[in-house]
């Protein structure tokens, strides 16, 4: 059946295929088609820039074509690498079906059919060609041409091909490298929730490294909509690396295909080299369970045997797939993206640690804007959904990301939720981003993420934490307002009353001290984080005012953005790190009507990366403006940290053990050759780019020229460290 479908498709012309499937290709209505076309152009540009480590600047222009109904000229221009002359026809002229079949990687291009679809749609609806200008840095001139499609041969037809000097950017400056596409098409421009403007706004949030410009013009060449979003970071997304499929995510069809197409000579090699997460020991166990000889050729495995293999995948202890193949946006950058252009009271973002669902690594990121003036306070909140940095605009209700939001009990966090379920109400925006090597959608249209319990749980956890932040924020704002009032009362109004009353009666002024403790009768916390432009550090000051009649003693804890490259400095009071992200200090006893102070600075963050801290305390009397530390949560965080470290150590040990299986001569040391063999297995999952000789050079602590088990273990443990991505010099292809 499947076979017949394939052959039918080959016979059908490519345009027929397009026509039949335009609903899931995104070209089913004039309103949606323009969004799809813009999306394909933008995805193309972002992917190309990312691959070539270029900070993208992308301009999108929509121009209504005069005297025609529903005709728009889409113009997309980027500062990407451009396309070399010989590749242009290939890029624009053929629909690529499943070209990335065997590799698993987090890419934008999981949706749609790419830029060729734009050329196709343009031609089918207007009969016109698409105009392309491309320049690569190496060439002195740009190449321009008109591209059409031969729909029978699935190939490009090029006309008017010539070199040009006139390729400039929006400032009129000659372009060094970049690509410009001008495609006329049947389309209709609109504003609102499902519009090009919204799509680009969302794209800008999840691509904080991109500058995106958008301008739409009517028939009379008047600007009717525009949007310019400057990049907020110069840091490009971490380069994603391809990983091998994990056995837990494989289906029988794919397994059979992998077996059939394998170039491995025997089943041992097949299992270890085709998949991630199968150590030597597991490989042997699988084959034993299936009564398959290690030396058997993959092509000789029967369907019955492959079914057995699939079953044993779930019975044998495997290692999880590596998760450093994901490219999260990271909470600080999402925050910057969300804050941009929105005047709001509160923005909170969170990136969860990577997790695995059915053998697929994934990672959840969430964000919230509360008090968003652009969202009506009476209606439901605004939901922004993303899969691998691609905005999802349709089928909101049926999407797992939406259901994740709906599953949280928002009332407890201070958001209105009629009936206690469903989308909360209010002037808020909630963002959910799913990054994964394999996003499962509900349908071919790829607009809604399919149900998955593990992913759902991660979304819930992330949103609950954001919810707690919101609740804290609300409580803190209320307390701050109250504190401000009280301070004004005792520091300004009361002294004025005392002076005035004394003057009127011609009597001496009373001592205010006892009156102040009488009025306040509480301990207050004031905290502030400021950016020191000169020193390029964040300074945090925490002040504890004792307005009670008795001396008070406290231990103060404060949250700070602990991560790789961030350091606490100028911390005179010392103190200690409690858990990740929490520092604590013991304050000297504070006498009545006096204040205790904590000052420290944080090095290694950019301006706006850190705006406020959360203050906690240990002590008997409550502090207004700070929360009593929940020791249980502290212990929980500590435990999780320990668990994570232990897990990493265990994994490292297992990987090292597995690597030692490659120790042919049983010398207890791996030579370069033995290491190469080991890296084809699970050791290779942990080390992506490195070559055996590099590995030895870096991790050979005893300088023996070989690596022993301990050295490998350490190497694996250290490999998870933060890897700085830099702007590489890029050349031509």
């Amino acid at each position: 059946m499947a076979k017949r479908a394939t052959s039918t498709m080959k016979q059908a012309s490519i345009s027929e295929f397009f026509e039949k499937n335009k609903h899931f290709l995104g070209y089913d209505s004039v309103q949606r088609s323009i969004i799809t076309a813009v999306k394909e152009a933008i995805d193309n540009s972002l992917d190309a820039c990312e691959e070539h480590r270029i900070l993208p600047t992308i301009s999108i222009e929509l121009r209504k074509i005069p005297n025609k109904n529903d005709r728009i000229m889409m113009i997309a221009q980027d500062n990407g690498p451009g396309i070399p002359a010989k590749s242009i026809e290939k890029v624009f002229g053929s629909l690529l079906f499943g070209s990335r079949f065997h590799t698993i990687r987090q890419t934008r291009g999981q949706q749609g059919i790419g830029i060729t679809g734009v050329v196709m749609y343009s031609q089918l609806t207007t009969g016109k060609t698409t105009h392309v200008i491309s320049k690569i840095a190496k060439d002195a001139t740009a190449l321009k041409m008109d591209i059409g499609l031969d729909t029978k041969k699935n190939a490009a037809i090029v006309s008017n091909r010539e070199r040009t000097h006139d390729f400039v950017d929006y400032n009129g400056i000659p372009v060094d490298h970049g690509l410009r596409i001008e495609a006329p098409m049947k389309a209709k421009f609109q504003r609102g929730k499902k519009s090009v403007g919204q799509y680009l706004r969302m794209t800008a949030i999840v691509n904080p490294h991109a500058t995106i410009r958008f301008h739409a013009y009517n028939e009379d060449n008047e600007l009717i909509d525009s949007f310019v979003s400057e990049r907020v970071t110069d840091q490009l997304p971490r380069p994603v690396r391809e990983i091998k499929p994990h056995p837990h995510g494989i289906e029988i069809g794919s397994l059979n295909r992998l077996l059939r197409d394998s170039t491995e000579r025997n089943m041992g090699g097949f299992l270890r080299h085709t998949f991630s997460g199968i150590p030597m020991r597991a490989m042997k166990e699988i084959l034993e369970r299936c009564y398959i000889d290690k030396k058997e050729s993959p092509q000789n495995v029967t369907p019955e045997e492959s079914q057995l293999i699939l079953t044993s995948f779930n019975e044998v202890r495997l290692m999880p797939p590596p998760t450093d193949c994901l490219s999260p946006i990271e909470d600080l950058l999402i925050k910057k993206g969300l804050e941009k252009g929105v005047d709001s009271a509160f923005v909170s973002t969170l990136t969860r640690p990577p997790n695995v669902a059915s053998g697929n690594p994934f990672q959840i990121e969430v964000g919230m804007i509360y008090g968003n003036a652009d969202v009506s306070a009476d209606g439901p909140i605004e939901v922004l959904r993303f899969a691998n940095r691609v905005p999802l605009m349709y089928q909101q209700g049926g999407c797992l990301l939406t259901k994740g939001i709906e599953s949280v009990s928002w009332k407890g966090y201070g958001l209105d939720q009629p009936g206690g379920k469903g989308l909360p109400k209010g002037a808020a925006t909630i963002l959910v981003h799913l990054a994964s090597t394999n996003v499962q959608f509900t349908s071919e249209a790829k607009e809604a993420v399919a149900e998955n319990e593990v992913v759902m749980n991660e979304i819930r956890k992330a949103l609950q934490e954001i919810g707690r932040n919101l609740k804290n924020h609300k409580k803190k704002s209320a307390q701050k307002a109250k504190t401000k009032e009280k301070f004004e009362l005792v520091n300004e109004i009361l002294p004025a009353i005392a002076t005035k009353a004394s003057n009127l009666l011609d009597r001496p002024e009373p001592d205010l001290g006892p009156i102040i403790t009488n009025i306040m009768n509480a301990v207050f916390c004031e905290d502030e984080v400021i950016w020191d432009k000169e020193a390029k550090v964040h300074r945090c000051e925490i002040k504890i005012h004792n307005y009670t009649a008795r001396p008070r003693k406290y231990e103060i804890l404060a949250q700070y953005p602990e991560k790789e490259g961030v350091e606490i400095i100028e911390n005179e009071l010392g103190g200690k790190r409690e858990v990740k992200g929490i520092w604590s200090w013991k304050l000297d006893t504070i006498p009545p009507n006096e204040a205790g102070m904590i000052n420290f600075a944080i090095k290694g963050l950019a301006h706006n990366d850190w705006n406020n801290t959360e203050v906690f305390f240990r002590g008997s009397l409550d502090i207004i403006g700070a929360s009593k530390i929940d020791e249980e949560i502290l212990i929980e965080i500590q435990k999780e940290e320990e668990r994570n470290m232990q897990f990493a150590a265990e994994q490292a040990m297992l990987i090292a053990e597995d690597a030692m299986e490659s120790d042919q001569d049983k010398s207890g040391d791996l030579t370069e050759l033995e290491l190469e063999n080991a890296m084809e297995g699970v050791l290779g999952d942990a080390f992506s780019e490195e070559l055996p000789e590099e590995m030895i050079e870096k991790h050979d602590l005893d300088d023996s020229g070989t690596l022993d088990q301990t050295e490998i273990e350490n190497a694996v443990l250290n490999s998870n460290d933060f890897r700085e991505t830099t702007l590489d010099e890029w050349g031509d292809e």
Partner: protein, 366 residues
């Protein structure tokens, strides 16, 4: 409370307020100001005076919240301001004081309503009148037409004799804000009663129809909720000349309150009810019965009206059977009517038919 106090007394009473604050602070406590509760839950009928006065419930305004502390500071500024005015023999309007407070820094007023209320607070705690404080309202009193003769001391200090029928135009004699004996003397009259009228339209109708002469009465236009001086003038004339007072108003909850402020005393000024309330005043109409009896054009009660009527049911001033019946009947029928709805039967109907009929129930107008 007595008639105008001498300046030493006023200053002493004001200083008592300051002293309460200062003494509290000397004891290490937040400064306070003690006031009677100013709501309908704290007005009681005073048998001796025959009016409603504040009861014994007190509220202590202390400086433990920012709002109250600001009030105390403002009170001190106002006291200082009053003492300065007394010293320099000047006076100012409440509005002027509000603007002057701009220079009081932390003690300045947010709205004029705040400054008016504070002036009233000080009247209450010092048992002085705002005239003692040299503060006057900017709103003027009402208009009056009728055969009464008074003398008003003009701004040159001369006493002017005015007959409120013969010496005035159609708009009548305008009452000044101060109607105390040092400003107004009651000289002579030839009337049987005083009629207080809620709306200007009806006042003008009665004037045009010559009702004051035909019915031998003084007509006073209340201008809605009557100002202090209007109520004080009605009280003085009624007492000095022993004349009954008839209140002719719309039939709605707000009209009832206007009547209550004339006959029993207003909640806001309950501290001086015995100066402002005319105990024998009668509600002439329009009553709830009149709407049906005269088949008057009516409007439905609004939710606000209903709320106001319900509040009146628990107001001690409306606790008598007559008022309870009147209010309950209105709530039941859900209707209200304006004085001018009588025009349904022609312009002269009110003076030829309605008022004579109603007045005869009180033995007047015959």
């Amino acid at each position: 409370m007595s008639e105008a106090k001498n300046r030493e007394e006023v200053i002493q009473n004001l200083n008592d307020v300051v002293e309460e604050m200062h003494n509290k602070m000397l004891k290490g406590k937040p400064p306070t100001m003690t006031l009677p509760v100013r709501s309908k839950t704290n007005i009681e009928f005073n048998q001796r005076l025959g009016v409603y006065k504040y009861g014994k419930k007190e509220t202590i305004r202390d400086a433990t919240s920012l709002g109250s502390a600001r009030q105390l500071l403002r009170a001190l500024h106002v006291i200082e301001f009053i003492e300065e005015m007394i010293d320099s023999e000047k006076s100012s309007t409440l509005r002027e004081m509000y603007y002057i407070s701009e220079g009081w820094g932390l003690g300045k007023f947010g709205t004029q309503n705040e400054s008016n209320n504070l002036a009233e607070d000080l009247e209450i705690v010092t048992k002085c009148m705002r005239e003692d404080f040299k503060l006057r309202p900017e709103e003027d009193g009402a208009r009056m037409i009728g055969n009464v003769t008074i003398e008003e001391r003009n701004r040159r200090g001369e006493w002017m004799r005015i007959n409120c029928r013969d010496d005035v135009g159609d708009s009548g004699y305008g009452l000044p804000y101060n109607v105390e004996p040092e400003k107004i003397r009651l000289i002579d009259e030839d009337i049987d009663y005083i009629m207080a009228i809620e709306t200007g339209g009806m006042f003008d109708r009665l004037v045009e129809n010559g009702f004051d002469e035909d019915s031998r009465c003084a007509l006073i236009h209340l201008k809605g909720q009557p100002a202090r001086s209007t109520r004080r003038m009605i009280k003085r004339m009624s007492e000095a000349w022993n004349k009954p007072v008839m209140v002719f108003a719309d039939c709605d909850p707000w009209s009832f309150r206007i009547f209550a402020s004339i006959a029993y005393g207003a909640i806001k000024t309950a501290h001086i009810s015995e100066y402002l309330a005319t105990t024998g005043a009668e509600y002439l109409g329009i009553t709830a019965d009149d709407i049906g009896a005269y088949d008057l054009p009516s409007d439905d009660l609004t939710p606000k009206d209903i709320e106001a009527l319900k509040a009146e049911l628990s107001d001690p001033r409306f606790s008598t059977g007559v008022w309870q019946n009147q209010i309950n009947q209105m709530l039941k029928e859900g209707k209200k009517a304006e004085q001018q709805s009588l025009a349904k039967y022609g312009l002269d109907y009110v003076t030829d038919e309605y008022l004579p009929e109603k007045l005869s129930e009180f033995g007047l107008g015959g």
